[in-house]
C-alpha cells in the first residue's frame, strides 16, 4: 500500500509486564493496516529470545498491586520473583490476556518487523542463534531510517 501508515517503536525493557506494550501496540497497529517496526534494544532483547524467560518483580515497584501487603524486606527473599511471575501469569490467563509468546507469534504472523540492536547483542554476549529467526541486526542509524517516515514513533 503506497499510503500505508507506519509505526516505529523502540522497546527497551525486558520484564514480563513491559514486554506487553510494544507487542500489544504493534499487533494492534498491524491490525489497523500499519506497517510496523519494533527496534529492540538493551533489556528489550530478552523478549526476542527463542527461549524467553521473562519475569516480573514486586521489588522496586510500589505500584504493583499485591494480594496481601508485602514489606520490601520480604520481597527480597529467594523465590519471591518466581512466585510473583507465576501469580501474574495465572492472573493474566484468568483475565483472557494473551501470553507474550502468543502476542509475539501474532506479531510475526502480521508482518511486524523486528530489529535487534547489534550493539546490545555484543554488550550482553548474546548469539544471533539465541534470538528468533528473521530478526534484522542493526544500529541507531537504521532506526532513524525507519523512524524518519513513520507517522508514529514510540519509546517504551
Amino acid at each position: 500500500m503506497a499510503n500505508q501508515k507506519k509505526l516505529a517503536i523502540i522497546a527497551t525493557k525486558g520484564t514480563l509486564d513491559f514486554a506487553y506494550p510494544p507487542l500489544i501496540l504493534g499487533t494492534t497497529a498491524a491490525a489497523l493496516d500499519y506497517d510496523v517496526t519494533i527496534f529492540w534494544t538493551f533489556y528489550g532483547l530478552q523478549v526476542l529470545k527463542k527461549n524467553r524467560n521473562l519475569k516480573i518483580s514486586p521489588l522496586g515497584n510500589p505500584a504493583m498491586p499485591m494480594p496481601v501487603p508485602m514489606p520490601v524486606l520480604v520481597q527480597v527473599l529467594p523465590g519471591m520473583e518466581d512466585m510473583a511471575t507465576v501469580m501474574m501469569k495465572q492472573k493474566m490467563a484468568s483475565k483472557g490476556v494473551a501470553s507474550i509468546d502468543d502476542l509475539m507469534e501474532m506479531a510475526i504472523e502480521s508482518d511486524v518487523k523486528m530489529i535487534a540492536c547489534q550493539m546490545t547483542v555484543d554488550l550482553f554476549d548474546f548469539k544471533h542463534s539465541e534470538l528468533m529467526d528473521g530478526v534484522e541486526y542493526a544500529g541507531a542509524a537504521r532506526f532513524f531510517e525507519v523512524a524518519q517516515d513513520a507517522d508514529i514513533v514510540l519509546f517504551i
Binding site: I24, T28, A31, L32, D33, G96, V97
Partner: protein, 74 residues
C-alpha cells in the same frame, strides 16, 4: 444475517481486535462478521477499528455483559 460469527468472549485487549482482523482477512467484501465479546473496552475499540480500516460497523449492542457487533467488510 452474519456470514461468520467470531466468539471473542473471555478474551481481553487486543485479542478481540486481532481475531476480528484475522477473520475479516478471509472474508469477501460485503460479507458480515458478527463478534461476541465480554471485554467492555471492545465497544470503543471496534468503533475505532472500523473508522480506521474503512470497514463498516453496522451493529453494536450489549446485553447481560456480552457485547455484540456486526462489521461489514469493505
Amino acid at each position: 444475517m452474519a456470514d461468520i460469527t467470531l466468539d471473542a468472549k473471555g478474551l481481553n485487549c487486543p485479542l478481540p481486535i486481532l481475531r476480528a482482523k484475522k477473520a475479516l482477512k478471509e472474508m469477501a467484501a460485503g460479507q458480515i462478521l458478527a463478534i461476541e465479546a465480554t471485554d467492555p473496552g471492545s465497544a470503543k475499540d471496534f468503533e475505532s477499528f472500523c473508522s480506521q480500516t474503512g470497514n463498516e460497523l453496522v451493529k453494536a449492542s450489549e446485553a447481560n455483559n456480552v457485547y455484540y457487533y456486526e462489521i461489514r467488510k469493505s
